[in-house]
């Protein structure tokens, strides 16, 4: 990072800043507390609504502390609302997509960062740019490709690739791969060249260099990227919306929107569904906050 900056040479009297220091900190705390409370209100309100049975809100109104508080809405959303199915669908899509993305991106990143080669930069640019495109730009052709890709009915009940998890996994992988390749190649470039030079002298082939030298060293980057990708793909609303037509095959993030119509006026249940959807991300956030933050700042190219 080149830090070529004009030093702020100014002719202001230094006296200006001395008096205002302690007061400013006091104000900072008030401001931050107010902002933090405002920040928590939407989530808090969802949780509050979710914890109250619809009977008590009907009786006492939504803005009251009266009545029961329990987890009935959660159990109802989980069983009757189909959230157990949706949640499982999310797992089926997210786990393979993240593993595939990281694996393919690590291959590509290794090739473009550890071996000098003619089209390195061109390919890396292509991958990075692909990730920055708005997904809507490629939606129509991808939908048509999936629709006209005919497969036996024993494989997919639509007779084509629509309504399958494979197409959602494939497209998510292709879309996220660009970003991961970019981040991993930056990471691998920062690894010392001597590591693989030495292996080369020992007669280690490309695959062994990748597998036994570079991969183990990339663990911190994988941890950060993996966490980030789990969140990204779990949070993906768009691709299942395009490809999956059967409501019971939707992952949770896309399915929750259907709940709006399904449980009209039962906001308690909708709130419970929203809270259930938040829980996995919140757990990851609490356990792996450092990894997630590292992932985001590592590849701040993410749009």
């Amino acid at each position: 990072m080149s830090t070529t900056t004009r030093t702020g040479r100014t002719d202001t009297a230094a006296g200006l800043r001395s008096g205002s220091r302690p007061k400013r900190h006091y104000g900072t705390h008030i401001f931050l507390t107010v902002m933090a409370v405002m920040w928590l209100v939407p989530l808090g309100w969802s949780l509050f609504t979710a914890l109250r049975p619809v009977a008590s809100t009907n009786e006492h109104g939504y803005f009251s502390l009266a009545g029961d508080f329990n987890f009935n809405n959660f159990t109802q959303a989980w069983t009757q609302g189909g959230f157990s199915t949706y949640f499982w669908n999310s797992v089926i899509i997210t786990v393979p997509a993240v593993l595939l993305t990281l694996f393919l991106a690590s291959l590509m990143a290794f090739a473009v960062s550890r071996v000098s080669w003619k089209f390195n930069i061109t390919l890396l640019i292509m991958f990075t740019a692909g990730n920055l495109l708005p997904p809507q730009v490629l939606a129509a052709p991808l939908f048509e490709m999936a629709k006209h890709f005919e497969v036996p009915y024993s494989f997919s009940d639509s007779g084509n690739m629509l309504n399958t998890y494979i197409v959602v996994i494939a497209v998510n992988t292709a879309f996220q791969m660009g970003f991961c390749t970019f981040v991993l190649s930056n990471y691998m470039k920062a690894l010392s060249a001597d590591l693989t030079e030495a292996a080369l002298v020992d007669g280690a082939g490309i695959w062994r260099q990748y597998r036994e030298i570079i991969m183990p060293l990339c663990r911190p980057a994988f941890a950060a990227l993996g966490t980030l990708q789990v969140i990204f793909i779990y949070n993906d609303y768009f691709w299942p919306l395009i490809f999956i037509q059967s409501g019971n095959r939707l992952p949770i993030t896309t399915a929750i929107n259907n709940l709006q119509g399904q449980f009209l006026n039962n906001y308690n249940l909708l709130a419970a569904g929203a809270v259930i959807t938040v829980i996995p991300t919140l757990v990851i956030y609490l356990l792996l906050q450092r990894q997630f933050v590292a992932g985001l700042t590592l590849g701040s190219s993410k749009g």
Partner: protein, 323 residues
């Protein structure tokens, strides 16, 4: 940014600072055996093939389809249409210009409200105040949520009769109560505030990382020169964060072009919430698919988004390309 990647690399494996990343070309490639060449070509070939078929080919197909008329059913029924779709979109398609305006408004709001707010939070939290970590966690929490879910959560907050906001304003249950997501004169603002909730936390996080990377001696030098807090920040610290600033500019533009999930969850991007990305999808799904029109809209979106993409890529890869 590669400097942040470096920080994660264990020191013993780190390439020496300033050392040439690549050795002289040629020499190493010649040492590759046939097997190595095969392995390498698979390593490059498989991901590249996937990227080309599932990202770049569809992008080109969008461009191609935008010059055709097609209902999406029979491949043989694709008819050339010249520029008809573009003419239709810009002249006879009522939601197009409102959508362009809304995308612009969204961009301005993120750029002038959400991003500065995130920067402000980062600067305040960077000065080692008590409870800084707790504040950070709170502001950052919405970044973990999908925009679709954010739409739902804010729907609960914004509802006309049972929403918290109308209650706090004292209008709940009265005729003055506003349906924040339903009323076409206010819903875009309500949606932008919901998007800000997430965007500001994201920007805060990136700037917190950026601020840590600024050499403290720069600030000290400025203080010795008699600069006050504001001057130090705007003339020294902020310009020193140039790489992060570029990333933030690009993210802000791209987020505003992608503002799809929120509006689609609220009302599928209609009635005051028209957005280019939502219009693309409206023309592709449901009955009466008009692939040509949808693709023309997608191409408009593509051309606009190429501006920040090219800007970003030339900044990031410009140096390497020349070296």
């Amino acid at each position: 940014m590669s400097s942040t990647a470096r920080d994660l690399v264990p020191p013993e494996a780190r390439a020496p600072e300033g050392a040439p990343v690549r050795r002289a070309k040629g020499g190493r490639v010649r040492r590759l055996s046939g097997r190595d060449k095969l392995v390498l070509s698979l390593m490059v070939g498989i991901p590249t093939l996937i990227e080309l078929t599932l990202v770049w080919l569809p992008t080109l197909m969008s461009v191609g389809l935008s010059f055709t008329r097609w209902n999406g059913l029979d491949l043989g029924a694709i008819r050339p249409a010249g520029l008809d779709n573009y003419q239709y979109v810009t002249q006879d398609y009522p939601p197009f210009w409102p959508a362009v305006q809304h995308n612009l408004l969204w961009l301005l709001f993120l750029a002038l409200v959400a991003t500065p707010l995130g920067l402000l939070l980062a600067v305040l939290l960077d000065q080692n105040i008590r409870g800084s970590k707790i504040y950070q966690s709170i502001f950052f929490a919405p970044v973990m949520l999908s925009l679709a879910l954010i739409g739902i959560i804010w729907q609960l907050f914004y509802q006309r009769d049972n929403g918290l906001l109308n209650f706090l304003l004292g209008t709940a249950g009265t005729p003055q109560a506003v349906d924040w997501f339903g009323d076409s004169s206010v819903n875009i603002w309500a949606a932008m505030i919901a998007a800000t909730w997430r965007h500001a936390g994201y920007v805060m996080l990136l700037y917190l990382a950026g601020l840590k990377g600024v050499d403290p001696s720069l600030k000290e030098a400025a203080a010795i020169d008699g600069a006050n807090g504001f001057q130090t920040f705007f003339r020294v610290v902020f310009p020193a964060m140039r790489p992060i600033n570029i990333v933030i500019v690009v993210i802000t533009i791209i987020e505003s072009l992608r503002a799809f999930d929120v509006v689609y969850v609220i009302n599928r991007g209609t009635n005051g919430l028209e957005m280019l990305s939502a219009l693309v999808i409206q023309n592709l799904v449901g009955e009466g698919q008009v692939i040509g029109v949808g693709s023309a809209l997608a191409v408009v979106l593509l051309v606009i988004s190429l501006v920040p993409i090219v800007f970003y890529l030339s900044r990031t890869f410009g140096k390497e390309g020349k070296a």
